[in-house]
Amino acid sequence: MSKTRVATTWLDGCSGCHMSFLDIDERIVELASMIELVYSPIVDTKEFPENVDVTLVEGAISSDADIEEIINIRKNTKVLISFGDCAVSANVPAMRNRFERREVIDRAYIENANNNNHAPYQNIPGLMKSARPVHEFVQVDLFLQGCPPPSEAIYGVLSQLLAGEYPDLKGKTRFGA
């Protein structure tokens, strides 16, 4: 039997959900024997591959590059999972949404910088007016809430998917868990 092709990515997130994923401890060895990690910030593949079975998307959609990436991911993924509160509700990244884009950039690159105080103007993706949840852009098949989702919930989802079942998340996680 061919291994299940799994990908993970982070957009506007803090990587905490990925850390929680690693917190499934020794079970990751068993999981690794059943899946092939085809794309992830922690592997070296640069291009998102085709025919991915499951993709975990951490983080909100905040820039032009995020939109491009999520559309490409959706095109090549069978089961797309919003992985953590930022992907599900835009969460903390969305706390900037009440401010103007200019204010946000000035705050980060000028007001809070100790030297070289100027905003970058080339080679970086354009910041969107507001950070938005993933499902506002593409269809999402499963929502894994939590900031971060508890490792038990992450393991639960993946093991149930690998067993060919529809994951039941009731009581396993929640917003802000």
Partner: protein, 253 residues
């Protein structure tokens, strides 16, 4: 001198006898006094109906609409907290239609303000957050509004964060009905509604606030909190409400 027998029995009867009605909740036969709400009767019979603005010990407001139930042969849904049962009424609390509406209401509440559970002082102790679990709400279909709201931290010990307010008006009711100060009230309409202290002035300058903190502890979310609490540290203590009620009832008798 004892009154004659026929008068005696009449006097022993209540002057305004409370009628008892029998009706059905989810096919279960239940009995209620005619002045008890459907919600009260459901709770007495162990039937779960979600609520947010309701709090035992305060008057009913019917503000949140999460307790909507279906009544057979009535086209519109009814809020269980302010609807009285009638004889032979058939109440349904778990139909797909009811559950769908409740979820939509919860989603609208979440989009209307800025509820960021992960960095909230009430994370893990929040009625709103718990409702998303109880109703199985995994995400919100509507666009978040991300409105601009302020925090008033002028009070010595408490602060109000309008980002987290769900307009349940528990604070308004407890301040008026239990503390008797009526510091809290509400201004504007619809989506612009906002709870205010006195005449919309900073809480710290309120002349009527007694600083009792009842509003803080009945608040279902982290709109009203004690100062000095960090993420997930704000637990609400509501034992005072049934206790005060019991003591006041005893005094009256």
């Amino acid at each position: 001198m004892r009154p004659p027998a026929f008068l005696q029995s009449a006097l022993e009867r209540d002057v305004r006898p409370v009628k008892v009605v029998t009706f059905k909740i989810d096919d279960k036969d239940v009995t209620a006094r005619e002045d008890e709400t459907i919600l009260t009767v459901a709770r007495q019979n162990g039937i779960f109906i979600p609520t947010l603005c309701h709090l035992e010990g305060l008057s009913e407001r019917g503000a949140c609409r999460l307790c909507l139930v279906e009544i057979k042969n009535v086209p519109r849904l009814a809020p269980a907290c302010v609807t009285l049962p009638r004889q032979d009424m058939e109440v349904i609390t778990t139909s797909e239609r009811v559950q769908d509406y409740r979820k939509k209401i919860l989603e609208l509440i979440l989009t209307e303000r800025n509820h960021v559970c992960s960095v909230c002082v009430s994370n893990g102790h929040c009625d709103l957050q718990q409702l998303t679990v109880d109703l199985g709400l995994t995400h919100v279909h509507y666009d978040y509004l991300y409105p601009h709201h302020t925090i008033d931290a002028t009070h010595e010990r408490f602060s109000i964060d309008h980002n987290r307010c769900v307009l349940c008006l528990r604070c308004v009711r407890v301040c008026d009905e239990i503390e008797g100060a009526h510091t809290w009230d509400i201004m504007s309409r619809g989506i612009l509604s906002k709870v205010i202290t006195d005449l919309n002035q900073p809480w710290g300058t309120s002349e009527t606030c007694t600083g009792c903190g009842k509003c803080v502890h009945v608040c279902p979310t982290a709109a009203l909190t004690e100062k000095g609490k960090s993420v997930a540290e704000m637990t609400k203590r509501r034992q005072f409400l049934p206790y005060l009620q019991m003591m006041r009832k005893e005094e009256r008798q």
